[in-house]
Symmetry: C2
Subunit: 417 residues, 2 copies
């Protein structure tokens, strides 16, 4: 039953994706405009649906943080609409050919950006993902099949209904945005294997969801990532700058993936640096957990366990470890890190260069907060997430990462000898 | 036991990959030179090992084609060595930054090409893959874990021993090239799930192997592809050119993935064109299998079944179908094709443009044989295979496709406000 429903959605999505793939930018931008308008016009209906979800959530005893993620307000709907409009201004990557070349036999060859086709998004409680992900997919000429969390079911049905209808108003197939209308968990398992209809799956949510998808999907996955990020304070660091960067990396928004979790400190400056940084971090409410050597300098902090170094705390907690060299810092990062964002603070040219060359992560920063790993901060525009995998996309994934390429070959009768 | 062995190989490969990632091009090129030399010096030993595999293969009753794929000769070893040397001349993609930009806050940001890390190659009977794949991995700074077919076991052990020792002679870790030294099929199943050590898996072989890997791997896969390629002869085609391209696409090397399998013919020129092309194809020994309308024009050919349109014959067999429009041709291609290479023969500008825009495949050719889909033919150099997937790489995969990127961010104390 669920299988059959999804099969039908897959067929429709594939058909819609063919039409979207050839839709000119004008039309896709008009669709985004139409979607934004529909969201504003449908705001009351969406808020009503959301209040049902909120009520059910309260009854189920969802945490305050979960309820906040679930909540929609007129302001949040306006934000979603503005997010769609912001996409209009961005350049459409589809159809772009970076270079063409001519072979000795006269064949002209180029690599053209084209949509991926049909994208499956599996996400958790935040209903704004329904809009954000759909907008990015439409802008890049992809059809999308959305599977949101059960807590946000009514909100998602209302939102998806409104924005998919908006596509019809500009002559695009409404089936380009489809929501899986069942909370049966079986639907997720089916989507993981829908290679025939889905070109890629993007999980958005907690570590558990991402692991489930990565481990079980036969459809190729774009993994948006867990961030166990480090700040390494080198012996040649400007200590004042190091305090500023460590504090900002930890506290500016602790619940996100590009926040720092562990502070690595070179032993040469530890005695001087640790009291300075601890004072600032603690003033911001950060709980420190240190290695043995750290605790000799900061006797009042908790001991860090091995597990702490693996943790993405997503909270005002920071592990601290003293290392004796740049190499030890890099080894620690490779052992415990998640390959998201790694920062060094140093005034030494060679140390900076070695760190950039040797550290294997989506982003390697010299003298800059880990919090900069973000599509907007990079100047790349809207992003669908930050990839910590190595294939296809690594780091902030924007419009270009929602496309693939095809070779176009123009000849006048060439054959291979 | 096998699990443990592979775990140890994984750890060693990861360590080796860190060293290789920072190895300068000079050193990697010296390694290729050293590997070529070692192959030549070890030729007798390799041939001896190969003769054991050939003997066992004959006893097992392997087909003539299989035995030919398995066979090594002094000439074939020389070819492998030359293949390694040819890589030296190619530019090293590692460390390349296509562009850097500066943000309003002064952060300088760029995207640097870096190695993938550790690549797992699972392949079948051809022992030359051991050399070719290793060469491509070393050139691009990756470590490799090879799992060859059991038929070529002795040959692979000999070859891998020789070329990995050659790495040591130029100061690189020999563990950068490791062969799984068991024919236990369990080893493949373990590799499919070795996410901790393998950054990517590349299966090279028949459709069965590729399906096994794609369906069961949790490690990201680069799929090298099945090719069910089409030649569509438009009503506005130059018929002489169409004959030339259809024949070349089918017969120039029928056993490879970029050979054409189905000929689609517009009804407007079918009566004139089909006898011309049939004569040429049949003169080359091609068996034709036609749709009903085709068989009214060519009454002596076999009927094509629905299955025939799905088939990658890899043989001198070609399905033929009459279509009434460009759209019908494109629909047929999307229904039955594998997204490898699709060609149109036409003199009509608008038809050519529509075909290029609408057909979803790794390569879309206008007035050129499907046989051109190849790294060398494109002028891109050596390839590890032709990808028919959409993520990361599509079409011929060369050196660049064996790399990923990382963002490098240079600051002077920036924090996020």
């Amino acid at each position: 039953m669920v299988q059959q429903e999804l099969e039908v959605m897959g067929i429709k999505a594939k058909e819609a994706s063919r039409i979207l793939a050839s839709a000119p930018s004008n039309q896709k931008d008009a669709a985004l405009e139409s979607m934004a308008k529909a969201l504003r016009e449908g705001a009351n209906m969406i808020l009503e649906a959301n209040s049902k979800d909120m009520e059910a959530g309260r009854e189920k005893g969802l945490s305050k943080a979960m309820l906040d993620r679930l909540l929609l307000t007129p302001e949040r709907i306006e934000e979603m609409a503005k997010g769609l409009e912001a996409l209009i201004a961005l350049p459409d990557p589809v159809g772009k050919i970076d270079s063409m070349w001519t072979r000795p036999n006269g064949l002209q060859i180029g690599k053209m950006r084209v949509p991926l086709g049909v994208i499956g998004i599996i996400y958790e409680s935040r209903p704004n993902v329904t809009v954000d992900a759909s907008g990015l997919c439409i802008k890049t000429g992809n059809a999308v099949i959305l599977r949101g969390g059960s807590e946000a079911f009514n909100s998602n049905v209302a939102i998806a209904g409104v924005i998919s209808s908006a596509l019809g108003k500009v002559g695009l197939p409404e089936e380009a945005i489809q929501l899986v209308k069942t909370t049966d968990r079986e639907a997720v398992n089916i989507m993981l294997k829908m290679n025939k209809y889905l070109d890629v799956l993007i999980p958005r949510g907690g570590a558990g969801l991402i692991r489930l998808v990565v481990e079980n999907a036969s459809v190729p996955v774009l993994e948006t990532g867990v961030g166990n990020c480090h700040v390494y304070v080198d012996d040649a660091a400007d200590l004042e700058m190091a305090v500023r960067i460590a504090v900002n990396s930890k506290v500016q928004r602790p619940a996100v993936c590009n926040a720092a979790e562990t502070l690595l400190v070179h032993s040469g400056i530890a005695e001087k640096f640790l009291p300075l940084v601890a004072e600032e971090l603690q003033a911001h409410g950060v709980e420190l957990r240190g290695c043995e050597r750290t605790r000799k300098i900061l006797p009042n902090i908790k001991a860090a366990t091995e597990d702490d170094y693996y943790m993405e705390f997503l909270d005002l907690i920071m592990a601290v470890k003293i290392v004796d060299s740049l190499e030890e810092a890099i080894d620690h990062i490779h052992t415990y890190g998640s390959g998201h964002t790694e920062a060094i603070v140093t005034d030494n040219y060679h140390h900076a260069r070695a760190f950039v060359q040797k550290v294997d992560a989506a982003a390697v920063n010299v003298n800059a907060s880990t919090r900069f790993t973000d599509g907007y901060q990079y100047g790349l525009g809207a992003e669908i997430g930050i990839s910590t995998q190595k294939l296809h996309a690594r780091g902030p994934m924007g419009l270009e990462e929602l496309t693939t390429s095809k070779f176009v070959v123009y000849g006048n009768g060439q054959i291979r000898e």
